[in-house]
């Protein structure tokens, strides 16, 4: 298996881009990534997207996006998997280079959520759930997370304030991120008192569904040396799954998919959890962030509330978590999220993350899930 490195990244601001279509967003990210990597010739494109066929009535995104971005007659593979599409595409691209099939690949994630009202967003996001036995009964993704939050608080005597404090930290991080959707600070009171989405979770416990596009270029270390001076190694990337329906899971405070993908990724990268210097995790809701940190073995079971209170997950803490602001405050551009995470950690390890820079980070982790962890991809990057 060949070593794989990242030679270029590009992102658009995560936002409600009412004035721009899905093609414009994709093109901006791709052009930025190509420029960042010395404009190499790409042998294969991977496009990740969750909901364009539902929101924009646009299927067959590959040719639709590539032709507009001026990418020429290059093979393209479209990859889905709801909000985990980005991670899935990163895995495919990695394997294409590692196996020797392709020399230089580009993964472009893109999502356009703002063309439909919130009510429809809730329905669209529910498509990642078991339609026949859960969504059909009026359960929502927020509802599943809310039930998990109630179980977590009861099982570990965690407080509502601790959950809210996670959102406070994410918003604080986002203030320094020029690509963030919600770059403003909030207080724990404001989080708890904002309008309810699924009791006990509120609007400010939830990540905003946004528009955005991110692109990363992967190649071999030998080729990368001819393109750029700043490469980051993809030391491990693994994916796993859990039951889609939550009633068949033994517990709501852990996701088997994350636990399994993380174990395999740590082993593949020969890295221990305590070596992770920075991470971008999938905090679709505040509670999802808690569960992720514990499933990734970054925080002990039931201790995330205390870790948040003690500043462990802050930018200058022991486990700097989501310096971008995470899904909570950078925003949640569906199938692009997993690609944003790779781009952000790459910038961190290059020391080019600007105001969000974590000092001295050498190893970074990304964690992207679909639904309530039906699928999970964990990536480990090294400087």
């Amino acid at each position: 298996m060949r070593k794989v490195v990242i030679s270029g990244v590009g992102m658009t601001k995560v936002d409600q881009h009412f004035d721009r279509g899905i093609r414009d967003l994709f093109k901006e990210a791709v052009v930025k990534a190509l420029d960042d990597s010395g404009n190499p010739e790409i042998s294969h494109y991977y496009v990740s997207n969750a909901y364009a066929s539902l929101i924009s009535d646009q299927a067959d995104l590959g040719p639709f996006l590539l032709e507009y971005a001026g990418c020429g007659c290059t093979p393209v593979t479209q990859i889905g998997g709801a909000c985990g599409a980005g991670g899935n595409a990163v895995l495919e691209a990695f394997e294409a280079v590692a196996s020797g099939k392709s020399d230089i690949v580009l993964v472009g994630g893109v999502e356009k959520m703002s063309d439909i009202p919130q009510k429809q967003v809730t329905s669209v996001q529910s498509t990642c759930m078991d339609q026949e036995y859960e969504a059909n009964y009026g359960l929502t993704l927020a509802g599943i997370n809310a039930m998990a939050a109630r179980s977590y608080m009861q099982q570990y005597s965690a407080t509502r304030e601790q959950l809210a404090l996670f959102a406070v930290q994410m918003h604080k991080n986002a203030v320094k991120n020029p690509y963030a959707c919600l770059p403003f600070e909030v207080t724990t009171d404001k989080v708890i008192e904002s309008f309810p989405i699924a009791d006990p979770l509120t609007f400010l416990d939830s990540s905003p569904a946004c528009d955005g596009s991110a692109a990363v270029i992967m190649t071999t270390p030998e080729i990368a040396r001819t393109l750029t001076d700043t490469v980051v190694e993809v030391a491990g990337v693994c994916q796993s799954i859990d039951n889609v329906g939550i009633s068949e899971r033994p517990s709501l405070v852990t996701m088997r998919s994350t636990v399994d993908a993380a174990e395999k990724a740590y082993s593949m990268a020969k890295v221990k959890p305590d070596e992770i210097g920075v991470c971008e995790i999938h905090d679709a809701f505040t509670i999802t962030g808690f569960i992720a940190l514990e499933d990734l073995s970054l925080v002990d079971r039931g201790k995330t509330g205390i870790a948040v209170e003690e500043g462990t997950i802050a930018k200058d803490g022991k486990i700097p978590t989501n310096p971008s602001g995470g899904l909570k405050a950078r925003g949640q551009p569906g199938g692009a999220t997993g690609v944003y995470q790779i781009a952000e950690i790459t910038q961190q390890l290059r020391g080019e993350a600007g105001g969000t820079q974590v000092e001295g980070a050498k190893v970074g982790l990304t964690h992207n899930i679909s639904g309530f962890g039906s699928g999970a991809t964990v990536g480990i990057l090294k400087r």
Binding site: T122, E134, M147, R150, S151, I197, A198, D199, S247, E248
Partner: protein, 133 residues
């Protein structure tokens, strides 16, 4: 949802028909053709118990299409008397009465106010336990 899709799920929705592995005894809901525990392809029809208790719950305020008029409505993860779990809406109770551990039982209720195909979907909801076991 299409009429065929609603029709083929009637045994589960109206009667809680699940499956049980003839080899290792694992019960599943929804029904399966292969046992998720031992891998045997010997799943037999199994009627789930209709009573259980609430494991965890939420009140949905931000509802998907078709459920907007009912907000806030309660949903719960329920553990039935045999240990099988099911997700369901709760009914016939005030939202403020709901607690973790509360005994509940199945009832058949209207699920969706209106489906795009015009069919009214009925199915199980769970209510505070009134029948004697």
């Amino acid at each position: 949802m299409s009429s065929a899709r609603i029709w083929r799920e009637i045994p589960q929705r109206y009667r809680l028909e699940g499956t049980k592995c003839a080899k290792c005894g694992t019960a599943t809901f929804p029904p399966r053709s292969t046992c998720p525990k031992c891998g045997a392809d010997e799943m037999k029809l199994y009627m789930l118990p209709r009573a259980g208790k609430i494991v965890t719950y939420s009140l949905i305020h931000s509802a998907p299409e078709g459920f907007e008029t009912n907000v806030p409505y309660p949903v719960a993860l329920i553990e039935l008397d045999d240990g099988t779990r099911i997700t369901s809406q709760l009914t016939d109770c005030e939202n403020s009465e709901i607690t973790v551990g509360m005994p509940v039982e199945m009832a058949v209720r209207r699920i969706r106010e209106e489906s795009p195909s015009g069919i009214i979907v009925y199915g199980y909801k769970f209510r505070p336990k009134v029948r004697k076991s």
